[in-house]
Symmetry: D2
């Protein structure tokens, strides 16, 4: 296999991250994220989102981040609203349900949830014989590589708050979303419009780790109890804190996301130039070209990637780039594609 | 503060571990612990425990490991038996209860559970108005630094299996236990006597990570579903696998545990020589000397450590050493103690 | 309001049931369904289903029966397959999710799940990133008043067992289903084809209570623990046992279901004769005629019933009959309908 | 067996209750406790407790009532404080744990929890590595037949509210408690001092059913969702409402509790006169005399009752009376005891 475009977590960590970890040597630090690295990283994130009072928690992965925020926010009968393509609904083995909560889904459009989707679900849930939707979960960028614009996110946020719902954003790929040419949102905007979200490190250069941001005061109390109870309070929390310090002190986070997007766009342009279309408009680091099945079959012999869906008599595939994707891997892919 | 004896996870990772992580560079690997590093580490562990069919899973921390194994093994009405001092009962924020299961406790002795403790709990649980005990949880070494001998563990294991209970060992500090002069157990013995256990990496040189070993066939099916559902399936599972490869390929794991114990024994001997006794016989890397309160107070100004309990008019404190504890920190502590 | 067709639990209990309860006087009995009435009722049910080894448990209601059987049968990562119209998915406030399990849904047809629906869901659930479907839930009769025929149920049962799934039937309205002219199933057939099911008392003459039948051995162990843990082990379980004795000793159960269906059929025939159609073919005690909105509005002033759905520019409504529905209420309804 | 003193739910229901049920005939009513009987019963209870704004919910049994109130009140990491003898800790098959919450226990004294017990547990729970106690559960009368006095309950209530805890009273036997000569509490007092409690019907004349009273506003929202989700929203809720109407409209509830106590006191006096002592001072309808083992053995041949504990070389047994206990059964027991 020449290269794997399967996902953006196929490489361990950016060299600057590895160096930051190695530099710590045998220095001692406080356990459970109460260390100076985590404190500094939190300050850097609060500066980035321009919100001095948000709570920041460092968590080892995305599924944990999702289940912690959601199960902490909800009473037993309350439910989540998500897109049918939402990661929590499809690919987290019922993690949310395992904490006792139903996920109510809407079809959405291009992986995005719209106010009308939320309204329709609320209108159906009328009494105590049904769960009570209380939190809207979206992903930015979405599971199909699309991004919410500022207008879209504001509309959704307004709808949520008017109807008494929390808005939570799964930001496993927040970096590539906010650095997409199709997205006019800033980190500050995200913090203003969401009640809680997380900034994904694992898929953007870190060895592992996500920074959960809790903005809304109601969601803050006792969150560390929830983290510990679910097994997510890393004794060496400093290991995540110092990575986020490295990511946010000099702009590395955005730089890596930009590199990731850039390679995806080169790939997308080349695929389009070769005469193929896309299932979803490519704007970030996951793209979904549609190929005839024989092309897909041949590509599988040379590259790693996942088939996505049948699209009429063809197949869409998912190609994911990362900060680590070599430019020549992209170029070779395009050459191979044209020559197949 | 000259040095912290608070715990054995105050330093990030042993240099060999950091080097192993750094050496991987930008090589691509499969996600979710399906990588070659994890496969090799699993083989090394199977060789070490002399069991070729055990399932090995790499998990980011101890509380997660405990709750995964326990919640996977039990039906809803089934319960755990543990010591009152057991980590799952005291210091995991009700993690086991949060998965729906009660923890039935016995006083035990020196942090250890005896067959008679288990029998007494079983005798009290007679019908469907009470939970049904199904799994015995112990820690090796225990939360008070003691260790089970081979005879003790065999007795307990026999009792469990005679009474239809699984035996699960929390091995956050398995290394220091098996390398204690007071312990005659081998890794093979542990695997023979327990149904499942874990080998702790976090507290013995790793950056983070534990290796869960599932020996008994009944406990094996679908464990990866359970891991994913609880948010514990690390996308970059390779990051743990390669650390365990480093720990087990040349004996580093036992070497670090031995260093940790050695410093604890120097500390213990010095404390005894200075005229102080212990709440529990010191045999591994957690020791519990008893000091007059004014000594404790003075020590707190120079060293980091936790007070444990009131013992008559004195106080026992917990001193923990690790592979990274500098010998001169131990020596200085003893000098300071004598001079106070 | 002349009469309520809202549901089949608007009246307390059939006189024979009330008499059976009153007849017990101040006789003492064992608690928790270990009484002679419950034993005799269990025997009667085992005779009725022609299965001498099935376990019978008496439970106070349908939602409890569903959640007990399902949560007892599943491991944490396992899921249920149901129709989108399934009661557990729509109208039980996330009871199944509250026990930790996801409900995977299919559109189905006429409220019924077909093998192809089950297969499609299984085909989508391919690895540990998704829940593992393990039990199929259906209702007989369904939430839209339709019934599974013997051929349909056999096909579904075969599909389930071939694919390693349990088949569980919500029989809140099993009486009216099996006594429908459209249904060729016997109680024996149901017990042969399902792994577990319940025979609803609440909606067929009892004051309250359902008889859960567990046929498949794997599902039997420790079910009473599950009942107690969920708060469903009635101390005066005899109160349900004696009602089921009354329902099954002389054929009262089928008689009442037959009466219920008969009134529904008179109602359906009259409605059809008056020129109206149905959303679902009326075959049991829930029927769904489609009326113009102004008719619906006028009917609401005289009768109690629920609107069901918009059907083009009209509305389907749900009319439910019971053993207690007076024949003249049916006749008057038809007269009023013709005169509106 | 001449008579069973095993418990106070060995008989079905008081004749006035059976008559009230029978009198309803085939009258139709609204489902799910939204009927006129339940409304009137709620009003009667609010009048009795002299609190016009309390929420009243009718639930089929005690374990359900306990788990509903507790799981509704707590966030995931919050815990209950109870006596070691508390019903939820011993005899409900881990029902509270099955909703995710730990029960922290204290030894207490005579089955009662004291402020110092609560304080001691709070003092031990200092950070996020431990659960956060949030609700105190007590039983009135207790599992060992004792009662809290007004002073005791006030002290406990003050302690709870000063420390940010809810006080919840399991009133399965509230009637016999408040009608005990040893208890100076009124229903009004109970409502003033507790945040929530329930008035037990099942053990005091009703066929089945408990009235949950929620006084504190924070605990009120969405309780019906919780009821439904746990399978406890009885479709024929009217069946409980009308029983409570019968119990509270003319003082039947207190009358039956008084009868129950009276027989227990005759029994206690006779046992004492026969020369035997008690494990707990007998003040309500559960008494715990201590007999030599040979007496216990002989009594078991004639009467139904449970052995309680070994008390030195003797055995305490539990004798329970109810409104239905015949006076001559009590007299015969005393005669037999003297003649053994």
């Amino acid at each position: 296999m020449k290269h794997s475009f399967k996902n953006d977590y196929s490489e361990l960590a950016h060299p600057q991250i590895m160096n930051a970890l190695a530099a710590i040597g045998d220095r001692q630090f406080e356990g459970y994220s109460l260390d100076e690295y985590s404190f500094r990283a939190s300050e850097l994130i609060r500066a980035k989102i321009e919100n001095t009072s948000a709570d920041i928690h460092f968590i080892s992965g995305g599924t944990l981040s999702n289940l912690l925020v959601i199960s902490s926010a909800l009473r037993p009968h309350e439910a989540v609203i998500a897109c049918k393509s939402g990661h929590i609904f499809v690919h987290e083995t019922g993690a949310i349900e395992s904490t006792g909560h139903k996920v109510c889904t809407a079809e959405g459009e291009n992986g995005k949830l719209r106010p009308r989707d939320v309204e329709a679900i609320l209108d159906e849930h009328t009494d105590e014989h049904m769960v009570k939707p209380r939190l809207v979960y979206i992903s930015q960028s979405t599971e199909v590589g699309t991004v919410y614009t500022k207008a879209e996110l504001r509309e959704l946020s307004d709808c949520c708050h008017k109807r008494g719902l929390y808005l939570f954003i799964d930001g496993a790929r927040l970096g590539t979303a906010l650095n997409s040419h199709a997205c006019d949102l800033t980190y500050k905007d995200v913090a203003e419009l969401a009640d809680a979200f997380y900034i994904g490190g694992t898929k953007n250069g870190a060895l592992f780790g996500e920074a959960v941001v809790i903005k809304t005061d109601e969601l803050k109390p006792d969150f560390r109890f929830i983290i510990k109870q679910r097994g997510a309070l890393l004794s060496k929390g400093a290991a995540i804190g110092l990575q986020f310090e490295a990511l946010f002190k000099d702009g590395l986070y955005d730089e890596l996301a930009g590199q990731s997007n850039k390679k995806a766009m080169i790939l997308a342009d080349g695929i389009r130039a070769a005469g193929y279309g896309f299932q979803y408009e490519p704007v970030a680091n996951q793209i979904f070209p549609i190929f005839p099945d024989e092309i897909v079959e041949k590509l599988h012999k040379i590259y790693g990637f996942y088939d996505w869906q049948k699209v009429e008599n063809k197949t869409s595939v998912r190609l994911v780039t990362s900060w680590a994707t070599p430019e020549n891997a992209v170029e070779e892919f395009l050459i191979d594609l044209r020559e197949l």
